[in-house]
Amino acid sequence: MSPVTSASALQVKAVSASPHTATGIKDVPELTKMIDVSVCIGCKACEVACQEWNDLKVDEIRESPPQTYQTLPDLEYNFWQLIKFNETERDGRLLWTLTKYQCMHCEDPGCLKACPAPGAIVQYSNGIVDFVQENCIGCQFCVTGCPFDVPRISPTTGKVYKCTLCSDRVSAGLEPACVKSCPTNAISFGTREKMLAQAQGRVAQLTADGLDHAAVYNPSGVGGTHVIYVLPHGDETSLYGLPTNPKVTFVNLWKGPLKWLGNLVFAGGIVGVVLHYLRYGPREVDESRHDDVKH
């Protein structure tokens, strides 16, 4: 595969707790990873590739949920992507909705907005959202800010980790490790327009095959995501363990009006007492009058 982008892909667009970040002016293409659920066979090659490229080792394989093939019950700080083996009964038959689960690289990332530590989360112009562990303070505000429940803290380092969309590989013009490993081409990577068009094409094919509700998952509540899905049952996102309408409304309320209310009370309080002092002054007690203290 030819390089999808150049090294300039890692131009900073937004930085946590730094409202006035200077953004670059280079015209960097937005990139997107597309996951075609209808083609995934659950071989877990992507899980292995992710662990290997990122030099991650799970300390212990914990018990999976009963009777599934899932590697782990959920994401871990050192296990950044997981094939969820979701099982549902449909018309008396098993419906297996294998879903590759990882950070969605939101256009409007709740994690970054929630983060109080300057520089601990960055968003690049190409759409990748990356955690910078040197600046992470371990507060886990991102855990509450993320509508996809992705960030995980390491009990040993006290820092939060997640899928980087292989920002290191992408900055060198390579595709993410999971994309490279997939034997069925269920995962594609490229410019955003190209991936959206490809996804729409697949949806048209699936619809023609009789899957009337096939759809692209690119939720608008978070401004769209840089990881998108082709879902055969697009009207039932819960089959795939994906939120139907993820939003960052709470984060916006928390980081917007609530902060302003605070600033108003703090500043108003200080200005108020200063003005009160200037107008009314202290209440001195005349200590020289000791004759009139009533018993």
Binding site: A17, S18, P19, P116, A117, P118, N135, I137, G138, C139, Q140, F141, V143, T144, D149, G158, F250, L253, W254, L258, K259, L261, G262, N263, V265, F266, G269, I270, G272, V273, H276, Y277, Y280, G281, P282, R283, E284, V285, D286, E287, R289, H290, V293, K294, H295
Partner: protein
């Protein structure tokens, strides 16, 4: 009852234990407030560096908060009786305007604490309880579901805002408006004139309880 150099009486307002507990509350609250502010809003993040860096304050904020709460609990027990809102407080509320503008004579007839002090105390205590309940959800996020954690942030922020607002008024009143209050909380005593000017009913009650308090 201590004697002043000029022979006049000094009245013990806050015994040693009250003073130690009060300054424990003050110190821990200020630490927790400043470290909380560092996380509250990016322009305050430099406070994190003052206190040893982000990871350090993230670790200590909730722990020092527990010390604050424990000390507050002691004061709650010790002052509960004097902080009870009673019928005389209604009159104080009626004269709130005069209190604000400094014509304190009409409201000087207060017990050990006037209604303003009582209100501040109860507001601080209530926000401390809310800060604890909500703070625990921020402390151990994986033990609570996302809805509770979101409510936790809203409650933690709102109660911190109320508590800090109340603290501004508290410090202003104690340090700037009523000279003698700081000494009451550092050395423990006030003059009879001070007591009469601000807490006449308290003075009266003290005198009838301890006849030797008369001079």
């Amino acid at each position: 009852m201590a004697q002043r150099a000029d022979g006049r009486n000094l009245i013990v307002r806050y015994p040693m234990i009250d003073r130690v507990v009060h300054w424990t509350i003050a110190g821990t609250f200020v630490y927790v407030m400043l470290t909380g502010l560092a996380l509250f809003s990016p322009p305050f993040f430099w406070l994190a560096d003052v206190f040893g860096g982000g990871p350090v304050i993230r670790y200590w904020h909730p722990i020092i908060a527990l010390v604050f709460l424990a000390a507050l609990a002691v004061l709650l027990v010790r002052w509960f009786k004097d902080m009870k809102v009673d019928a005389d407080d209604r009159r104080w509320i009626g004269h709130f305007r005069e209190f604000v503008t400094g014509d304190e004579k009409v409201v000087a007839d207060a017990g050990r604490f006037n209604f303003g002090q009582k209100a501040l105390f109860w507001v601080q205590s209530a926000s401390a309880v809310l800060l604890l309940l909500s703070g625990v959800t921020l402390w151990f996020p994986r033990s609570f579901d996302v809805g509770l954690r979101q409510a936790g942030f809203i409650v933690h922020d709102l109660s911190a805002i109320v508590a800090i607002g109340a603290l501004i008024v508290h410090i202003y009143m104690g340090v700037f408006v009523t000279p003698g209050s700081v000494k009451a909380m550092t050395q423990g005593t006030v003059s009879a004139r001070w007591a009469e000017a601000h807490h006449a009913r308290w003075l009266k009650a003290l005198r009838s309880a301890t006849p030797q308090a008369r001079h």
